[in-house]
């Protein structure tokens, strides 16, 4: 194996290794969803596909944006844009824990050297109306993944239950590469002049987006866009409703994703008061629930 393809020395090789591993488990390897989301769970391949009776297996990288976590590139661990690696298997296979551990071995974590633990962590997403039980997965005291058995998504009971794995890719890579600053990660696995670091790729973006998220984003415009996305989501849900069937669950859900991200931006700008916050979250959740219901009336949702 060249360094470029070694998951222990190359960030992109870590992703390639995970793709290969989960492809072998029968997952469809998707590309990131082309919208701004706060976590891999928002991808319709997880949120919507978790609903309904049809079996589903997918894995993908999802760039995730958490505007509030921006630190102008000055914090070694915090980013407003980062990668999550997401796996969803419905119904959850009986050996999902084993599969997860084998994926860690595949990226170079030796179980005879490390202390891997499943520590209680009940997952809940108030904006998605979703919850599940599971763990945060620790490797030598560091949380490297989130492991959840979805019980409810978009306000709907999961039937059957999907298992979801979320790897924090930067953190995992920092661990296997042994670096303490995310910007020092080797991105392409090469050395010398050919080496490209995570900082080379993303440092400038972190600085610029931190300014944008905290200082510049036009809050009036964002608030208006939120209203627009909310209204459009409802309009599309109305338009697509055809009796027992729904013909536009996916486009409507896009608007829900949009609303959620706009809320996150407004939140980062500090213009949302505590009481308003609850109401925004509630509004997004109502959209997510309506989209979930619509999805169940589509072919993908098992109708």
């Amino acid at each position: 194996m060249t360094n470029a393809l070694n998951p222990k020395t190359s960030f992109q090789a870590l992703i390639l290794t995970l793709n290969r591993f989960w492809a072998e488990q029968g997952c469809v390897i998707l590309q990131p969803y082309d919208m701004e989301v706060g976590a891999g769970t928002f991808h319709p391949a997880t949120t919507l596909r978790a609903l309904g009776p049809k079996p589903w297996r997918a894995a993908y990288v999802q760039p995730s944006r958490r505007p509030k976590d921006g630190r102008y590139g000055e914090n070694p661990n915090r980013l407003q844009h980062y990668y999550q690696y997401q796996v969803i298997m419905k119904p959850s296979p009986a050996n999902l824990q084993d599969l997860y551990l084998r994926s860690l071995y595949a990226i170079g974590i030796d179980p005879e050297l490390h202390d891997i633990r499943f520590v209680e962590d009940d997952w809940e997403s108030p904006t998605l109306g979703a919850w599940g039980l599971g763990w945060e997965c620790w490797c030598d005291g560091m949380e490297v993944s989130q492991f959840t058995y979805f019980q409810q998504v978009a306000g709907v009971e999961c039937s059957p239950v999907a298992g979801e794995l979320t790897y924090g890719l930067e953190r995992l890579a920092m661990y296997v590469q042994g670096v303490e600053n995310v910007y020092d990660l080797n991105f392409n696995g090469l050395d010398g002049d050919d080496r490209i670091s995570y900082g080379d790729v993303f440092l400038q973006a972190e600085q610029e987006y931190s300014r944008h998220n905290f200082e510049a984003a036009n809050t009036e415009m964002l608030a208006q866009h939120f209203k627009d996305a909310e209204a459009e989501c409802k309009a599309l849900l109305d338009f697509g409703a055809k009796g027992e069937r729904h013909l536009m669950a996916l486009p409507a859900y896009d608007q829900c994703i949009k609303a959620s991200h706009l809320f996150n931006l407004l939140d980062a700008r500090g213009v949302i008061s505590v009481t308003e916050r609850q109401s925004y979250i509630f509004r997004v959740r109502e959209l997510a629930k309506a989209c979930g219901e619509a999805w169940l009336k589509t072919e993908g949702g098992g109708a």
């Binding site: 005879e112 050297l113 490390h114 058995y149 039937s159 059957p160 505590v274 009481t275």
Partner: protein
């Protein structure tokens, strides 16, 4: 006698649920067995992160036979009733029933139903599926293919296998066969996830424990705790350090490992600038590690102890360095917060409190601080606190809520306030108040003792209670989301343990809230071993019962009085008077007041009582005014000879109506006199 071994093997059970779950399993299984006539000698329950286990010793091989009498209809009842009886009793012929004669009801049928006891293992097979399906997990889930069905099995995390064997020591135990959601009970378990993952064939409890041990699983939580504690102490000792013991953390950590291996890591000395509580909070909360102090000193050492679940082939070097990395990152954050926070004065943070809602209907933290300032100033003189210091402390007491450190570690609120106040040169009492105004947090927490801290602590709690009362968010049943019971108990403890006289009614507390305080006070005093009827007797007197310290002093004085002969007889006299009054007042349809016509007092015994009553009541009231309750009780006790003599010689219900009335008034006066100290009618016994 045969034994039962049961194991429920699953994915990782949350640490905080394990001990309770093991006990619940024991209770459920033993109850179900006993209900079915299967008594047992002993039962032991165990939990590890991946299994619940139960060992029941000394069960009978068979359930005892049951003989049951079923009552039927009377002889000659309609055929329908007789058929129903036969069917219910499982008889095919009326001749199998016996006839019993009853002198009142006549002859009727009786069926003697004998039920052969089943083999105990059949009983176990019958009860287990239900016990597992209805197990009381605080939170449970569905999983896998079966979760598509509505009645899918729920467990805390996916359940993988079940051991259930039954048999005596001298024979090979049998597997008890049952199946639930596709899992068949058997005799196979699995060892440590990484060190011995293979299947293990088990016969009974003895070999189960030893085979698990060989497969790197310590079954008993308490043994795992002992191992961790022992190893932690020796590792510390070897470095000249002491473990900072932490029972709750130890319990949690023991629930995260099947094979505890304690390892020592370290962090840079420079992090020791951070307040030790913060170091401990971050290492404990995020990493579940123990901290260490230098022997014979309170100062923390730059070391920590982690409990891993592995025997690693490099003796733990990689595990230690990984944990150190995380601890370092956490401490870097904490140090950054600490240093950033020190750059901003507490008073300069107040503006930010405007953006924090305390409660939607009770305004912002900033508004709350304004209220606290006013209330602390009002209370300061009563608790002998300097008014200016109390005002300053109240003003600053919530400022640390908007510090970086408290944003990250909410559990160090107050404490950080104290640190920051000390660093910016605030008066020592003010600094202490910033930490102590939150106290006491529970029945075992310490209470503030510095007057300034007392003033702000009382203000904090009273404002909370008054506020939530005003918006009608009172605790109901088990629901008390704003911890109002704790706040009231806090006020009670602060007042009583610091000997503070505080008439609550004069400080914004209305009758309904005062009643809540009284309820809490009763609970508190009962826990202290005080008789609840005496508390009721004292609270039954409205005047002055808003001063809780006085209430308690009265209760104590009353208790002391009732311990004497005089007190006991006085109470007996009171009861006699009260009973007579009750009966006569009912008869006459009036309530007698204590207005006596002295001219109508003729007999020496009634005269004597009349004279002494007036004096004693006045003296008792004087003592009460001076808050000398023992003195007041002594005065009342002096009534005893006169009361006794009165009842001995005088017939209350005299023929002459005016005399009778006047004697009843005399008793009423006696009743009123006792009310200067307590409502004697509430005293039990």
């Amino acid at each position: 006698m045969p034994d039962l071994l049961l194991e429920l093997f699953s994915e990782e059970i949350p640490a905080r649920m394990q001990r309770r779950a093991a006990e619940d399993l024991k209770t459920a299984v033993t109850n179900a067995l006993v209900e079915r006539g299967c008594a047992y000698e002993a039962a032991l329950a165990f939990a590890t992160p991946r299994r619940l286990a139960l060992h029941i010793v000394g069960l009978p091989a068979r359930q005892p036979d049951l003989k049951e009498e079923k009552k039927g209809p009377r002889v000659g009842a309609p055929q329908q009733a007789i058929d129903g009886f036969l069917k219910g009793a499982g008889l095919n012929d009326l001749s199998k029933a016996t006839i019993q004669s009853d002198p009142k009801k006549g002859d009727f049928y009786i069926a003697i139903v004998e039920r052969k006891g089943s083999a105990t293992q059949d009983v176990i097979a019958e009860i287990m599926p239900d016990i597992i399906k209805t197990f009381p997990w605080p939170k449970s889930m569905r999983w896998g293919k079966s979760s598509a069905h509505a009645n899918a099995l729920r467990w805390v995390r996916p359940l993988h296998s079940i051991i259930c064997t039954f048999g005596s020591e001298t024979e090979t135990p049998d597997v008890v066969h049952f199946e639930i959601d596709g899992i068949k009970a058997g005799d196979i378990t699995y060892g440590h996830r990484f060190l011995a993952p293979g299947p293990i064939h088990v016969r009974r409890f003895d070999d189960y424990v030893s085979k698990l041990e060989a497969a790197k699983v310590v079954l008993s939580t308490d043994r795992r705790k002992d191992i961790i504690l022992h190893d932690a102490k020796s590792l510390a000792f070897a470095q000249g350090l002491e473990l900072v013991e932490d029972e709750a953390l130890l319990e949690e950590v023991a629930g995260l490992v099947e094979w505890p291996t304690v390892l020592m890591g370290s962090f840079e000395e420079r992090f020791l600038d951070i307040p030790p509580e913060v170091i401990r909070a971050t290492i404990r909360a995020n990493q579940k590690c123990f901290v260490l102090r230098k022997s014979g000193s309170n100062a923390l050492a730059n070391k920590f102890l982690l409990t891993s679940n592995m025997i690693a082939k490099d003796d733990g070097a990689t595990i230690i360095s990984g944990n150190e990395k995380v601890v370092r990152a956490r401490l870097s954050d904490a140090k950054f917060f600490w240093e950033t926070d020190l750059k901003v004065k507490l008073e300069d943070r107040l503006e930010k409190l405007k953006s924090i809602t305390f409660h939607a209907k009770l305004g912002t933290q900033h508004q709350r601080v304004e209220r606290l300032v006013a209330l602390a100033k009002e209370l300061a003189p009563l608790v002998k606190a300097d008014v200016n210091k109390a005002e300053r402390a109240a003003r600053l007491c919530k400022a640390d809520l908007v510090s970086e450190m408290v944003g990250e570690f909410p559990e160090v609120q107050g404490l950080m306030g104290r640190y920051y106040a000390t660093r910016q040169g605030e008066d020592a009492s003010v600094a202490i108040a910033l930490e102590d105004h939150y106290k006491p947090q529970g029945p075992s927490d310490r209470i503030p003792t510095d007057p300034v801290a007392i003033a702000v602590a009382l203000a904090d709690k009273i404002d909370t209670l008054v506020g939530f009362w005003a918006i009608d968010e009172k605790p109901t049943g088990s629901k008390d989301p704003y911890a109002l019971r704790r706040a009231a108990l806090g006020v009670i403890r602060i007042i009583l343990e610091n000997n503070i006289g505080l008439p609550l009614a004069q400080h914004h507390i209305n009758a309904d809230l005062l009643a809540f305080f009284h309820d809490r006070l009763k609970v508190y005093l009962r826990d202290q071993g005080q008789r609840h009827d005496l508390i009721d007797a004292v609270l039954g007197i409205d005047a002055g019962n808003d001063d809780l310290l006085l209430v308690v002093k009265r209760v104590e004085a009353l208790d002391a009085l009732l311990a004497t002969d005089d007190g006991k007889n006085l109470l007996a006299g009171f009861r006699r008077a009260a009973n007579i009054l009750k009966a006569e007042e009912k008869k006459d349809g009036v309530t007698y007041s204590g207005t006596i016509d002295a001219a109508l007092l003729k007999e020496p015994q009634e005269k004597a009582l009349g004279d002494i009553l007036g004096v004693a009541a006045r003296h008792a009231a004087d003592h009460v005014k001076k808050q000398d309750f023992s003195g007041a009780m002594r005065e009342l006790a002096q009534l005893r000879p006169a009361v006794d003599a009165f009842f001995e010689a005088i017939l209350v219900n005299a023929d002459d109506a005016a005399t009778r009335k006047n004697r009843l008034a005399l008793l009423a006066a006696f009743r009123e006199a006792t009310r200067t100290v307590a409502d004697f009618s509430a005293i039990a016994g």
